[in-house]
């Protein structure tokens, strides 16, 4: 739908927001017309969720204004935003499972009658559903509902409070394909009724199917706002993923021995669903293989299996000719496999412990640090000193805790520590995520040095720029499977972007 002559339903002007010195949004303009579905596109960390949280009153912008129907509004709480007509449905539902649909709709709402029988609430809920044209059994308990139905309850809950502008944060991430189609129908019906929808996603195909207009964010900056009609998946993928990074890396075709061999690997996630599904991969000595993909497509679980922190259900992992399938983390360390974990603080570091203790966390059993039962504290301090110097970690003392270090310094320490473990293989998960440019490049060049020393590196990142910059070969993961594998020379950004979004490749492969 083209911009009508009427006023936009929602307008955001020059919105900026930073978290602890990191800019999440930089003077972003965004507007939603009445009766349109407006898609907000971008990679992880591009600022989509931050922007929508500001529009919905969860965060306050550092700078900029929000106008609803042309009136300047300042929201301090989500209820104020809803009162003004802006409501948000979060990716992770905020429903009370042991309560009924009607009760959840009425929860924390000023209009809820003070004395209310279940029947009364159910009748009221029924009435809203009638008005809005969305139906869920009001007496059903939340835990009895499918994910798609729970999402409808969330939508009802927001609309019942009078929201005219509905923000949906990655609504299809949790839905089956069929449920997604149902959702799109609901959205079309809502906009026909005069409401507006902001639809956040990074799945390009569905965005083009459902939206009237599209806005692309990258690194907190608006790249474009345009009609969805006529836009191509390819073009949006380029806008989303942007240009290449800054350090120069020579790519090469490596013919060395296979150092890390993964075959038919299957593993489950914490919710016991298959997250890694029959993955075959090999990384040669002196080679970086990048795994591109949107977060949550099994990369985390794959890395954890390789580090010995998750059990593989099927398949095998080899380092050289040695089988390390389901070996303990200790055995895997002994095989010279380093790992920069995605969850640095949760898994990579012991925050309340000292820099020195953290520096030797994966080495303390080595002969030069251990004698009999003892741990040689002098040798530990020397080892830590050397690591801190080579990693250029800024710290007031080796005895200070790692929790005091900045994120960049923590990651420098972690990357160098793991590089010292990685005699043969390094598995690096999102090594530069959240770092400033300098720290990111230092961590990246640590990996390049390691590669040049003959180590095999598996690089997992949802930052396609980083993957293309660093990798000699690129594999794409989608829903637990490797859906594409490219030599760096033929690694085409657009094709990879499309594969990451779950689209079939042109030659009929996924």
């Amino acid at each position: 739908m083209a911009e009508g002559p009427s006023q936009p339903a929602l307008e955001a002007l020059g919105i900026s927001k930073s978290f602890g010195g990191i800019t999440a949004l930089d003077a972003v303009d965004f507007e939603v017309a009445q009766g349109e579905v407006h898609a907000l596109l971008g990679e992880n960390g591009a600022g989509k969720t931050t922007l929508s949280n500001i529009l919905a009153g969860l965060y306050r912008a550092d700078a900029g204004r929000v106008l609803v129907d042309g009136t300047h509004c300042e929201f301090h709480t989500p209820s104020q935003a809803i009162a003004a007509g802006v409501g948000m449905v979060h990716q992770h539902f905020r429903l009370v499972e042991p309560m009924t649909v009607a009760e959840n709709i009425h929860l924390g709402w000023m209009d809820t009658p003070r004395v209310c029988a279940r029947r009364v609430l159910a009748a009221r809920a029924e009435q809203f559903m009638e008005e809005i044209g969305l139906h869920v059994d009001p007496m059903a308990y939340i835990w009895q509902l499918s994910v798609g139905e729970q999402q409808r309850v969330e939508i009802l809950r927001v609309l019942a409070r009078g929201a005219r502008i509905l923000i949906l944060d990655e609504p299809t991430a949790v839905l089956t394909a069929h449920e997604a189609v149902d959702l799109f129908e609901v959205l079309r019906r809502l906009v026909r009724g005069g409401r507006s929808v902001v639809f956040i996603s990074h799945k390009l195909k569905e965005v083009l199917d459902v939206s009237d207009r599209v806005t692309v964010l990258r690194d907190g900056v608006r790249k474009v706002t345009r009609e969805a009609e006529g836009a191509t998946v390819r073009e949006l993928a380029v806008l989303m993923t942007g240009e290449a990074g800054e350090i120069k890396v020579e790519h090469r075709k490596v013919a060395g021995k296979v150092a890390l061999g993964v075959s038919g690997l299957t593993a489950r996630n914490d919710r016991n669903l298959v997250a890694v599904n029959g993955v075959d991969l090999s990384v040669r000595e002196g080679e970086i293989v990048g795994i591109a993909g949107v977060s949550g497509n099994g990369q985390t679980e794959l890395a954890e299996v390789l580090a010995g922190m998750r059990t593989a259900e099927h398949g095998s992992v080899h380092v050289g000719d040695q089988d390390i399938t389901n070996a303990s983390p200790r055995e895997i360390i002994d095989h010279g496999v380093g790992h920069i974990p995605e969850d640095r603080i949760g898994m990579g570091m012991v925050l309340p412990a000292s820099v020195a203790d953290n520096a030797v966390l994966r080495h303390y059993r080595r002969d030069e640090l251990s004698t009999g039962l003892g741990l040689d504290r002098t040798a530990v301090a020397a080892f830590a000193e050397q690591l801190v110097t080579s990693a250029r970690v800024q710290t007031r003392s080796l005895d200070g805790t790692v929790g005091e270090l900045s994120g960049g310094n923590q990651q420098r320490l972690l990357a160098h520590r793991e590089a010292a473990v990685a005699d043969r293989v390094m598995v690096a998960s999102h090594p530069s995520r959240g770092l400033d440019v300098l720290a990111a490049q230092e961590v990246q060049s640590t990996l390049i040095d390691l590669r040049d020393a003959g180590c095999a590196i598996l690089l997992i990142s949802d930052d396609l720029d980083e993957i293309l910059l660093m990798s000699d070969r690129v594999a794409v993961m989608y829903e637990g499977e490797v859906v594409g594998l490219f030599e760096s020379a033929e690694a085409d950004r657009d094709r990879i972007g499309i594969l990451m979004g779950g689209q079939l490749d042109t030659d009929g492969r996924r």
């Binding site: 301090h76 200790r330 012991v350 309340p352 412990a353 303390y364 003892g374």
Partner: protein
């Protein structure tokens, strides 16, 4: 607008933390003094009496050392467990279980004195460890909250002791207080003292060993890493559940041994009853909390709490209720806890133009 605001300190200087804990304890004592004044007593006079009771005679100092021994044993048990960030609330129960096993061996084993004593020590140690076995396994392998399980087993231990005292090991000749028969072999005394036995050396040696373990062994390092972040410890190649169970068993063993040395080393404690060592679980807990991970500090704190305990007993003869001492314990613990948190914050005067954090 300018206003005072509490700001969290990222780096916590251990000396500052210790200072604040001591300040907290002093504030608590001051609060206690105010209560005494409010109820028409003179805290200065009471303090003078207490100091006089402890230091004027040899029996006073011995009385403190005698009470410090079991308190230190339970405190060491709690403190070791705390290095894992696991709360052993059941040190009192393990203490009682150790005494139970020791008395069973002591009254039933017919052997030379030193054999009996060694057997009692072994039985006490094993019983203490056995008493924490189920909570340890449940915590390490299924994540069951140890605070509940260890706490509840205290009550079971009290009932077990009562059963022994009233039933199968009952002393038929005693009429007034129901207790078990007395053991005949006791730990050798320390020459030159009236009432002290070598039991006093047990906690001092154990504190020294633990200090060394955490200063210079790999096991100590691994325990601290598990305490700091179990997932990172597993990533470092430590078998976290197994190590956790092992350490918890040792903490139970220390408390159990404490029960045995109390039974065999404290004058007049040679029989078991349901009230045996009733305060030592709680006192040990307080001492371990005050010491906050330092084994040297633990010994000092243990003697201080024992001195308070002893002074309380003396003051009872001067008309002061024992409950005042128990209340003071509680206030001190709260004071130390507040001090520990206060050390992490600093009062700053700053602009108030930053929006309060909103939870998403």
């Amino acid at each position: 607008m300018k206003a005072f605001r509490l700001e969290r300190q990222l780096d916590l200087d251990p000396r500052r933390a210790a200072l604040y804990r001591i300040l907290g304890a002093l504030c608590a004592l001051l609060l206690g003094a105010l209560v005494l004044v409010a109820t028409g007593r003179n805290p200065v006079w009471i303090l003078g009496q207490a100091i006089d009771a402890i230091f004027s005679r040899q029996r006073g100092i011995e009385g403190v050392a005698l009470r410090a021994t079991p308190i230190l044993m339970t405190a060491l048990s709690v403190a070791l467990c705390l290095r894992l960030r696991i709360w052993n609330i059941g040190a009192g129960g393990q203490f009682l279980a150790g005494a139970f096993a020791a008395v069973g061996v002591g009254i039933n084993l017919d052997a030379p004195g030193w054999v009996v004593l060694f057997a009692m020590a072994a039985a006490g140690t094993l019983a203490g460890a056995a008493w924490i076995l189920v909570p340890a396994l449940a915590r390490a392998y299924w994540g069951v909250n140890e605070i509940i399980t260890t706490l509840l087993l205290n009550f079971v231990a009290v009932q077990l002791a009562a059963w022994a005292a009233l039933g199968f090991w009952r002393d038929e000749e005693a009429f007034a207080i129901q207790s078990t028969k007395s053991i005949e072999d006791t730990l050798p005394g320390i020459p030159g003292t009236e009432s002290l036995s070598i039991a006093l050396f047990f906690p001092l040696v154990i504190a020294g060993v633990l200090w060394w373990v955490f200063r210079s062994t790999r096991a100590g390092y691994e325990i601290d890493m598990i305490g700091g972040n179990p997932k990172a410890a597993a990533f470092a190649g430590i078998n976290v559940p197994r190590r956790m169970v092992a350490v918890m068993l040792v903490t139970g063993a220390i408390a159990g041994l404490g029960g045995m040395i109390q039974l065999a080393g404290s004058p007049g404690a040679q029989q078991l009853n349901a009230g045996f060592g009733a305060q030592y679980g709680l006192s040990g807990f307080i001492v371990a909390t005050i010491a906050a991970g330092s084994f040297l500090g633990l010994v000092v704190a243990g003697f201080l709490i024992a001195a308070m305990f002893f002074a309380g007993l003396i003051l009872q003869t001067r008309g002061l209720s024992v409950y005042i001492i128990l209340a003071l314990y509680g206030i001190i613990l709260i004071g130390v806890a507040v001090g520990e948190i206060a050390a992490r914050f600093r009062l700053v005067r700053a602009d108030l133009d930053i929006a309060p954090p909103e939870s998403p």
